[in-house]
Subunit: 433 residues, 2 copies
């Protein structure tokens, strides 16, 4: 374990120049707790609770993998109008754990809902009896290992006892660090916007640095807002914004069994009532959600296992967005492209090779390839002013921007990935040891 | 450059225990030459000529990439009844080189065909005027660099002068080493069979250790036989056998612009005339071609860039062969699976994750996963006798066999790949330096 709460100030001083976490503050209606359940050998927080004392409207997108974790199955069955808690554990993915894994969640949800109901009775004027079907679970870690039911259950008492009703950057950091696995950095992002004249906060945290390739949702990310918005409007906002954010990133081309992105609204700000996603008064809010999601998604890629560079790949002038996305990801997922960039080698031929593996037709005479501000291949031939030395110099930067002009239409898609280094192998060859 | 002809004996002594090259001998109708054209900084052979003095029937399969090299374009246009030569160069892929790259092949073919015609006039009773349209080209190396026309043209005189009309293992080794790029070992395979009562030789060489993922053909491989077989029968035999050999391997999931597998028959053995692939008298020959192709394909994977282990992945009891192939390659191309195996970690959860990313539905309750002789996951739960220590011991071997039983039908597909090591990154981050 590289992190515990004690060195977060140290982390702050190491923020990278490209994309890094932001400090989050208080947001009404969200309460947070994080404790250790002894799941890792080294002591760290592994169980994180988001408690919505007055409930939250919610929407989620999940992995498209044909094998999904037990918590994803659980979450898909939740039909409650509001949810009251989100419990996240790291170290164990609760995937391929079968009925035993699912029943573990049942037991935890029963225990946790009883404890939260007691808290309601203690704190609220009109206490709510919280049902076990009003809780969501996020799980991440190793697949196929027995789910540590007892350890997590044993931690619930302390977890509930330590709930913080007022947040500050420290507790957000604790939460963000409590959900990470091989991540080197916590991922937090925030932005403020307005619905009508009401000021609204949009906060988010995420985790993930391996097994990351979008197939709808990717990795774990949770967005919180104090706006008053229905679950159905939240769903439309999430679906609209996931495409170009968490569905536009890839670290290693592997999709997890546990991917989950959720948005929660605590309804604490009495903004104008929004019935539909098409309501124009919501468009700034939607853009803000996009901003926070993209920020988190970039933080995930920048912290991709072993990453030394963030790479953006913009495929432009394609016939369809589908073609553009396909081309961008062929490049993003090519080991040869990613290793060349790790080696700071402007080996653009590998970019061309990766383009060639796409599903659509390519006309070499219309194709152009740029790296950063440098045109390299222009409409079928090497660009006359191409200077490999200049591109080699550019390759030393931490952010590498690739643009591929297919010259067949007007649709674009930008994907984000990272380079592939020896460190990646090191991390993944020794993951469980 | 790790190899030159002088250390081939040294290589012989280093043959791996799993799959390695075989020694080839004389085969009637094939003549070979290999010289240096000064394409690499360190002196080595880079231009290899196969000369068929009496012509050869032929068939090829090429890359399915949407961007193909100029030599693939050239070869696809060749409609000659017989070809008289195959010229292979390494170091430069002649891809994304445009009309200039294509014209270079034109110039080389004109020059070479004149030189070979002179050889015909010198050696043959009925000399054949060889046309530039009776030559095939194989190119491999860096994409997008200017094709070294002059250097290759300058080498043709020596190349033709040094043609060996009788082969032995030394000249075959020279040819096999003359076509490699980042390969650490030459790839040669042979087998003998019969058509009717006629003894037939099937010899082959191949190259490739990166940018290898099947999309019809993969990498460069050339098969030679002294049988008398028409080009159309050769085509059917090649198409039939490529599916489970070169189309069943993946090193890095990247498909090259230059992939090419060809088969040539010199018609020196007067076997019974075979009109159709369906003729039963050809079935042993077809199996022998399969054996040689599979042997070469395994040699390619075993020598995959940075490989320390050969991995076979057999997906069994699938609904269709397409599903089986899709699942096998999801596993074969997963960085997380490949790095776990490099780390000798029996992290079978990653195999499950990779299965989950397939295109078909998976029923966890029917799914079983074995590594080597060890059942791990059996029909929805951890196998009761699963002993991680035993599997960890197995992971130390050089050959790792994974079997995935989907339990939904009776179709199977076995794919071959290698592990992903730091060495891979090293090779590919520094490829051009």
């Amino acid at each position: 374990m590289k992190f515990n709460i004690n060195n977060f100030l140290n982390i702050s001083s190491q923020r990278s120049k490209i994309v890094d976490f932001q400090d989050l503050d208080h947001i009404d209606g969200v309460s947070i707790s994080a404790v250790s359940a002894g799941l890792y050998k080294v002591k760290r927080d592994e169980v994180v609770l988001f408690y919505f004392r007055d409930g939250a409207n919610y929407a989620s997108v999940f992995t498209q993998s044909k094998i999904t974790s037990e918590n994803v199955k659980w979450n898909k069955k939740i039909k409650a109008k509001k949810v009251y808690a989100l419990l996240i554990n790291t170290r164990n993915a609760n995937a391929l754990t079968g009925p035993e894994g699912y029943n573990a969640l049942k037991k935890i949800s029963l225990d946790l809902s009883l404890r939260l109901t007691k808290i309601q009775e203690r704190d609220e004027d009109i206490p709510k009896k919280i049902s076990s079907k009003e809780l969501l679970f996020g799980c991440t870690g190793t697949i196929g290992e027995k789910f540590p039911l007892e350890k997590i259950k044993d931690s619930l008492s302390e977890l509930v006892q330590k709930i913080k009703y007022t947040q500050n950057k420290l507790i957000w950091m604790k939460a963000a660090m409590g959900i990470i696995t091989t991540d080197l950095k916590p991922k937090l992002a925030m932005a403020e916007t307005k619905i009508g004249s009401s000021k609204i906060k949009v906060y988010g945290i995420a985790k993930g640095s391996g097994m990351i390739y979008p197939n709808m949702a990717t990795t774990l990310a949770y967005i919180f807002t104090d706006a008053t918005l229905s679950s159905s409007v939240l769903r439309d906002i999430l679906k609209h914004n996931i495409k170009t954010t968490f569905n536009a990133i890839s670290c290693d081309g592997d999709t997890s069994t546990n991917d989950m992105v959720s948005i929660f609204s605590t309804n604490k700000v009495q903004n104008p009532a929004i019935k539909k996603f098409s309501d124009k008064r919501i468009s700034n809010f939607s853009k803000t959600v996009h901003e926070v999601l993209l920020n988190l998604a970039k933080q995930v890629v920048s912290d991709g296992e072993g990453a030394s560079k963030l790479i953006s790949i913009n495929s432009i002038n394609c016939k369809s967005e589908k073609d553009a996305k396909n081309i961008s990801f062929k490049i993003a997922n090519s080991l040869l492209v990613k290793t060349a960039i790790a080696g700071e080698d402007p080996n653009w031929g590998r970019i061309a090779m990766a383009i060639g593996n796409c599903d659509s037709k390519i006309d070499e005479k219309k194709l152009s390839i740029s790296i950063g501000p440098h045109k390299i291949f222009y409409k079928g031939s090497l660009f006359e002013k191409y200077d490999e030395k200049k591109v080699a110099e550019y390759m030393k930067s931490q952010l590498i921007e690739i643009e591929v002009d297919i010259g067949q239409g007007n649709k674009n898609f930008k994907a984000f990935t990272m380079d592939l280094t020896k460190k990646y192998i090191e991390i993944n060859a020794d993951y469980r040891t």
